[in-house]
């Protein structure tokens, strides 16, 4: 049931995704981050836009995934503690063979996704009794707490951080490799979410957003759906965290848990593009990333000011986001039927 217009969009994006790095090889890493942002925005929207549970702490899974992957990648092939790999003085530098690196990375990503999933299930036991602002602040608190506690653990290098194993192969291969990883993860996430939204799950979470009490009263097992939603988000955040750790080459609290930046960016992106739609987050992420890169290049000392202003203007004056605005302007194109008659209804309100 794929409409023609959607096919065109996918084709366009797909071409861009596949050929982008070939046409603009200097921007490969930047584009990899673009897909990362798309993934972050899309998974955030599952809980935030579609379900109405605005989480400020999804970044926790990102960081946990990053650390878990580092542990797996290093501990598999090196007997000491992971923290020894980098910490102060005599940082050891074991040599990894190519296959060790890639095996490590592969298992690392999987382990990261699983660890994040487990964490989300654990958190679900008590987080979902909170609504609205409490859920948001609570999830933010979890993120800060996990970040602070991680750096007290000596096994993962404490506050010194972890130097990731060096990528075997030359730099262009490295950029392209990570680009492909990000792209694939994003595609997987997008299509999985797309399918999920078209099933019972999609209807259920929208019902939860619109009126949770009524949904419960109708017999929808809301906790199950909430768990699924957050679990899916966690899995992808964990996986992309693992990849991001390898891209950065050095992990510490700021890299793994960028709460005041990426943690909030993912929300801003979704708001920019339009909450609660499939394409809103994608659009928002793309625009946000482009604008951010542009302001960083051209407005060096003022980039944060520009970003702050854009955020404010967007939120205060343009809240429904791009998709929302487009949907209001051209509802027919989105398959939304606007009931034009019965203006007498308005008088009764």
């Amino acid at each position: 049931m794929i409409k023609k217009n959607t096919l065109i969009t996918y084709a366009g994006l797909g071409l861009f995704g596949v050929f982008g790095p070939m046409i603009f090889p200097d921007y490969t890493l930047s584009m990899a981050y673009l897909w990362m942002m798309v993934l972050m925005a899309s998974t955030w929207d599952t809980l935030g836009g579609q379900m109405g549970y605005n989480s400020l702490g999804n970044i926790t899974f990102f960081g946990v995934g990053m650390y878990v992957s580092a542990i797996v990648q290093i501990a598999f092939f090196y007997d000491g503690g992971v923290g020894e790999y980098t910490s102060a003085m005599g940082a050891v530098k074991p040599e990894f063979t190519d296959s060790e690196y890639f095996y490590g990375l592969f298992f690392g990503i999987i382990a990261a996704a699983l660890a994040a999933l487990v964490l989300s299930l654990v958190l679900s036991t008590f987080m979902f009794g909170l609504r609205g602002p409490y859920f948001a602040i609570g999830s933010l608190g979890i993120a800060v707490m996990v970040a602070e506690l991680t750096i007290t653990i000596d096994y993962v290098g404490g506050a010194s951080g972890i130097s990731m194993p060096l990528f075997p192969g030359d730099i262009e291969f490295r950029s392209t490799f990570f680009y492909i990883l990000c792209f694939i993860l994003t595609i997987m996430a997008h299509f999985l979410l797309r399918w999920m939204y078209s099933t019972q799950f999609g209807l259920a979470i929208n019902a939860i957003r619109d009126d949770e009490d009524k949904a419960e009263a109708m017999g929808i097992p809301t906790l199950v759906y909430k768990r699924i939603g957050w679990g899916v988000a966690a899995v992808f955040m964990g996986a992309i965290g693992a990849v991001a750790g390898n891209m950065a080459g050095f992990i510490d609290k700021e890299v793994a848990y960028p709460i005041p930046t990426f943690g909030i960016f993912m929300v801003a992106m979704v708001l920019l593009g339009g909450k609660g739609t499939l394409w809103g987050p994608v659009l928002g992420a793309i625009i946000f990333h482009v604008v951010k890169e542009a302001t960083w290049t051209y407005l060096l000392n003022l980039q944060w000011i520009a970003l702050g202003l854009i955020l404010i203007v967007n939120i205060v004056y343009f809240q429904q986001g791009l998709m929302g605005w487009l949907q209001t302007k051209y509802p027919e194109k989105f398959g939304i039927v606007v009931d034009d008659g019965n203006s007498s209804d308005k008088a009764e309100a």
């Binding site: 200097d26 102060a88 050095f250 482009v290």
Partner: protein
């Protein structure tokens, strides 16, 4: 849906066009471009700025003195900066951008070991020589990097001299150094952890006892808990490291809580200007420094240490005392000049070899790089703040005033 496709396509095109920028080559006309990802915002911004000003001052002096001579022609130096926001991931990304998109082939280092740890793999992969002046972590030099060079002394040396002094005091009184009881407080960031490792090594060497070992959160500016314990347990020496913020907080709270320990050593005193802000409390502080303006070293470009100091202050009048971060930044640029002229080429591998072979005396101190890339010719200096707020050099125990007895 067409609108969507159009919007997305426009977005992609905008991405390409808007970010294209001007592709800078390594040498543009008669200017050699050095690249630097530096912390202009975020928690390292204070020292990032000190570093940037050091780079800029050196570039200015070198350009005014005729620039860099390669192949018989004179070239000016220029630095292209990006703000890495004190974030390692961003720094790595910007380093890649400098090298790939902007075509830079010579890098100046960022501020802090954490940032350098993130950027070094990038420049290493591209074979771009980087001379850095602000990443002192020992672990940077055990990774086998060939293209990384540091003009500063490595971090584990920062406070280990203080431990040596404490041991010397004991020996002078015919007692064993292992009697010394040490209290330490280090901020939870890679640099401070490195300093701590150096201190711990020395402590183990002498067999001293650690009675307080606190890790301070990076976002907090309150040491009262640690100082409360210090007052109760009465250590023989208190060692603190936490960047400028840590030094400022420590000085202030030592003043407020009237802490009296016979020996107190902390890093970043000058950068935090503790002798100005807390003249009474900071009396007796032992402060390690990479460089002193009374150093008796000099070079043809900047003159003596004092002359560099005067020149820098003339250009940056807001400084009453110049932090060593700026001095070593200038030294890094100077290394590049010497290397360019020695290699007489712009090829980055030839340049790399020239840097590795550099052996020079500068206003900052002697520079000679080991195999691993760190500077092995320059020691770390320890200074003590006197009652009048001046710093005096401490080379042996006899030079320092002991014990620290301050009336609040």
């Amino acid at each position: 849906m067409k609108l969507k496709a159009l919007a997305l396509a426009t977005g992609a095109a905008a991405l390409a066009v808007s970010v294209a920028g001007t592709a800078l080559a390594k040498v543009e006309g008669d200017t050699i471009i050095l690249g630097s990802s530096i912390s202009l915002t975020g928690k390292y911004a204070t020292n990032g700025l000190h570093t940037q000003r050091g780079y800029d001052y050196a570039v200015k002096v070198i350009n005014e003195a005729g620039g860099v001579k390669v192949g018989g022609k004179s070239y000016k130096l220029a630095v292209k900066y990006y703000d890495d926001e004190s974030t390692p991931a961003r720094g790595a990304q910007l380093a890649e951008r400098l090298i790939q998109q902007d075509g830079v082939e010579y890098m100046l280092g960022p501020y802090s070991s954490g940032m350098t740890k993130a950027i070094a793999p990038v420049s290493e992969k591209f074979g771009v020589p980087m001379v850095e002046a602000e990443g002192a972590s020992r672990s940077l030099f055990t990774q086998g990097y060939k293209y990384l060079f540091a003009v500063l002394s490595t971090s584990e040396q920062y406070l280990s001299t203080a431990i040596d002094l404490a041991a010397a005091e004991r020996k002078k009184n015919f007692k064993s150094p292992s009697e010394v009881r040490v209290a330490m407080a280090f901020e939870g960031d890679p640099f401070s952890m490195d300093v701590r490792a150096g201190v711990v090594d020395k402590i183990n060497e002498y067999g001293m006892k650690i009675i307080i070992d606190d890790q301070l959160p990076a976002d907090l500016s309150d040491m009262s808990t640690t100082l409360t314990k210090v007052k109760a347990l009465r250590p023989d020496i208190l060692v603190i490291s936490g960047h400028s913020k840590g030094a400022a907080t420590a000085a202030r709270q030592i003043d407020e809580m009237k802490v009296n320990v016979p020996m107190i050593a902390l890093t970043h005193c000058e950068a935090a200007k503790v002798q100005e802000k807390f003249p009474n409390a900071s009396t007796g502080f032992l402060c390690p420094t990479q460089w002193v303006e009374t150093l008796s070293k000099s070079d043809a470009m900047f003159g003596s240490a004092a002359e560099w100091n005067e020149g820098f202050k003339a250009d940056n009048p807001s400084y009453t005392s110049v932090p060593y971060q700026s001095a070593q930044a200038s030294a890094a640029v100077y290394v590049f000049k010497e290397a360019f002229e020695a290699a007489n080429s712009f090829d980055k591998d030839a340049l790399r070899d020239a840097i590795a072979a550099v052996e020079m005396e500068t206003f900052y101190g002697d520079i000679k790089f080991s195999e691993a890339g760190n500077n092995i010719a320059k020691p770390m200096f320890m200074r003590q703040i006197g009652a009048d707020g001046s710093y005096s050099l401490v080379e042996t125990f006899a030079d320092m005033s002991y014990p620290r007895n301050v009336t609040y």
